[in-house]
Every structure is written in structure tokens, then in C-alpha cells.
Amino acid sequence: MRNAVCWGGALVCLSAIGFAMSSYHLELYQKLLLVATLAVGFNFLFGISGQIAFSHIAFYGIGAYAVVILTFKLGLPLAVGIVGGIAVSALLAAMVAIPTTRLEGFYLALVTLAFAQLLLVALGAGGELTGEDEGISGYGLPDFFDIPLTGAAYTPVIVFVLLMTLAVILRLDNSYFGRACRAVRDNPTAASAMGIDVARTKVIVFVLTSTLAAIAGMAYAFVNNFISPPIFELDRIFELLFMIIIGGTGRHAGAILGAVLLYSIQFLVEPLVGKFHPLIYGFVVVLVILFLPKGLIGVWDDIVARRRRAAAPGKPS
């Protein structure tokens, strides 16, 4: 009960913020929420399960394109479009995951990188259906009980997707399955000896997080009612990866912190350093990996731990 109140409160508060914003800031805020959603899912895939998959943004794109194509190009009802989009994404994710989990090391990275590039090639050659390089625009959600779902009124949908993703991921992480994922990441051989089905665990994580990314992509498709290939390009998966590394790999709070920080900081830093901004970004990532392997959330943990030790002297730490 208390839990439900918390989630409900978060939904109301995060949505309410959107109503106080200008349309420019609102769009950035909505995109920020979606980036945080992606970061939470990708953190489970990369940080907690240890799979370096460069396909997370690709599935974001698949979700967006699937719902738009099914609903507005093929004329299916919206609900069918959403369910169909989820089914298509899950199926594609399973097709990528089932054969690749046999591979070790960085091969998953290579397959998913090729898959993501292949998606871009397919989008660019899809003719009428994908709008090729121009993308698709000029569609829109139907009104929800006479409220047009645009601008601030659309924020609750995005917040719902974020909270749902977070709830699913937290629920999983606090179960047997989450511990199994960590075991598979740290030592697959030992995990397998403990009776964990390594391949199955990997496939489930990949399909689940990729589908969550696709759902976030569906929400993205209606932020501007416009989708095009550049939004799903490879640079963005690096950004996502760096958000998690800087925030704190494997920590949910770290993923959200990294996403919020890196997303908002670009608007503060860009006016100051201009086009040098991505360069600084690269240096920061390297420095964090070298000197703060636990990310910013690790710094916070250290501060908390030191406070506690100072508050209770005499106890061995």
C-alpha cells in the first residue's frame, strides 16, 4: 500500500513539473525522462548482467518505428500497434540474443553493433514504409477523453513508462533472478556450477531490457510526432554507456544520476566551450574509468560511509 502511494506520488510530481515549463523546456524534460528510462534498462543489461550490447538504442528505434508503421502506415488500431510493436521488438531481441549468448567476450558487442548498423541501412532503404532518410512525420495520438495528448498533457505517459521500467527492473533485481544475473556477470562458470542456466539468464535479460527500450521508443515517437534515422545512430549508445559509467555502473541510482547529469550538463557547458563539448566529454569518461571506477555514486557511497564511521567511533569498519 505504501509502495503504491510512493509510485503514485512520483507519477503525479514528475508529471506536474512538466506543466510549469515553456514548450522548449518541456520537450527537453520529456526527452530527459526517456533518456533516464533507457539508462535504467541499459544499466540492468550492461551494468548488472555484464552484457556489452550496442543495440539498446536500436531497439528504442525499433519500438518507435514499429508503433508508427503499424498504426499509421498500416492503419491498425493504436492498441494493436503497441502490442504488435512490443511483440516485434521482443521477437527481434530473441533472434539476436539466442544465437549470440553462445559467444564469449566481446563478440556480443560486435553482433549488436552490426545489428544496429543493419537497422540503419534497412531504415534508409525502406521506401514509403520507413520514409527513408526523411523519416516519418505528420501522425499523432488520438485524444484521450477529449484531452489532446500533446505538450504537457503527454508527460504523464512518459513518466508512466519511466516508472514502469524502474518498477520492473527493481522487482527483478531484488529477486533470485537479479542475483543470478550478477553471478553470471562475475563468474559464468561458478554461476553455472551453482545451477544457474547461464544462457537462459542472458537471453531473458537481453529480451526484457531490449523490449523495455522499445517501449520507451514508442513513447518517444509521440514527443514531436516525428521520427527519423539519425535519432537512433550509434553515437547515442556511447552516450548512454558513458552516462552509466559516470553515474556508477550497476547501480540504479547511478544510472539515473548519470543520465540526468550528462543530459542536462550539455546545455550548461555548450554555451561556455562551444564545439569542444564532446571532446571534454570524452576526457571525462576516460578519467572516470581510470580514477572513479565506481562512478559518481561510488563517491557518494564513500562520503556516507565516512560519515557513519565518524558518527560511531571505536567500531571497526
Binding site: 553482433v111 534508409g124 532503404a125
Partner: protein, 299 residues
Amino acid sequence: MAEIGELLVSAVASGCIYGLMALSYLLIIRPTGVINFALGEWAMLGAFAAVALGSDLLVPALQLPHFVSLVLVIVVIAAIGALTEILTVRPLIEKGAPLLSPVLALLGVLVISLQVGTLAGGTEALPAPPPFGFRRVELGVFAGTPQAFYVIATAIVVFGAAWLFFERTIWGKRFEAVAINRRAAALMGINLRAVGLLAFGGAGAVCGIVGVLTSGGSGAFYQMGLPLAIQGFTALVIGGVGRVEGAILGGLILGLVEAFAARYLPIPSSLVLGVPLVLLILFLLVRPTGLLRAREDGI
């Protein structure tokens, strides 16, 4: 027949470029196990450096002779590779960080290299003058630009040198020993630092050569790095990560498949871009060890 001869020359020339990229991946992966996604960007830096040193673009005052600028580019990019190893990879490996950490740090280096290249070279494609002009060279049925033959000849020299290095020098044996068992190699007195430094420096040098060669063909362009990176590891996966011969074999197969698919497959040209990617996925799924396996005997 003449048409096929011409197609073969250009296909083999691009195959040689892919093979060289694969070789630079291999030089690092073999001893360290690290896959360096920044290599494509280093080739891009090499291409811009070649344009700056050897042409009247970027730095018009220089216009050095081709082979002087080739050597300079090799030295500069090799130095970038060596510096990267000293500053990012070595501290992580010596700290005992998981192998993932250097790979991620190198992704950071990728972003840095890409940005440096974009800031220094701009976002327009800059062609360097091909060192042997634009004539048409014919060798029997094989015909092509002098640049294509120059690329093939350079690849033969580089692969010959790499083969000699691995098969005939004590440093090559050290690389193999570290690849097979890092710990045992260190206990046998092999200097892991020197091997790592040489691996990254060598990979950088090969990327520099690739940069010079491509700048004389399609020109230097800030977005050329990622395709080169992908083609390079596709070639590596096809040929197998264990052996130098695998890198050039994979490169040639990729170059030929790409060229003949573009010429003869009845699919729209925009989809031809996907052919190497499909090839990569197929190979990873069907034969992840590549065509040639690492030699485990006679080290």
C-alpha cells in the same frame, strides 16, 4: 573479362585496406585481449595528417613529398597508440581491473580522437593527391588506378613484415607467449609493459598507413572512422583472430564479396551497405573462430 579484371583490382585494393585494419585489431587483441574500437578513428586522424602534410589543403606551407609524409604519419599515429596504452590501458590492467574497463576507456579515446579529427580537419571530405597520379595501369587483364596497385603493394609489404615479425623474431614469439598465457609469460621474464606498448604502437602505425592510403583514394573525412572500424573487425572475424594470415584473408573475402554483391546482386544499392554486416553476423554465429585457427603448436 576485362571488366572482371578491373573489378578484381578495386575489390582486392579495398580488401587490403580491410585486411590492414584487421591486422591492427589483431596486434592488440592477440597479446592483451582488448578490442580497441578507436582504431577506425586513428585511421581517420592518419588520413587528415596525410592531407595536412602532403597536400596544399589544411597546411598549404608544407606539401612534403609523399614518402616523407607517410613516415611522419606512421610515427605520429604510432605515438598516439603508444600514449593511449601508457595513459589509459596500462594503469587499468595493472590495477587488475576487469578486461571490460580498458575497452570502455578506449571508447572514450574513440570519442576524443573523433572530436580532435573533426576540430582539426573540418567536416568536409579532403582529398590528398594520389602519389602516382590518375593514370590507368594495365597488367594483362587487370587494370586500375595506380592508387589501387599502390594499396595492394603496400599491404603486401606490411603483411610480409608482420609475418616475419611473428614467425621470425623473438618479439613475435613474446607476443604469442603473452597471448597464450599472460601470467606464465611474465614469469618467464617477458616484459608485459613492452609487449603492450609495442602492440598499441604497432596497431597505431598500421592505422596510420591505412589513413595515408585512403586519403589518396576517397579522401579524408571525419566520418570515415566507424566504417573502417566495422570493416576491420568484420575482416578479423572472417579470417580468425589467431593469425596474421587470417587478417588479410578476411579482408580480401570481405572486399570481394562487397564488390561483387554491389555489381551483381539484384538488390537496391542502399541495401548493399548491409552485405558486410550480414556477413559479419553470419560468421559470428556459424564460425566465431574464423576461417583460420590460432596455431597452438611450435611456438
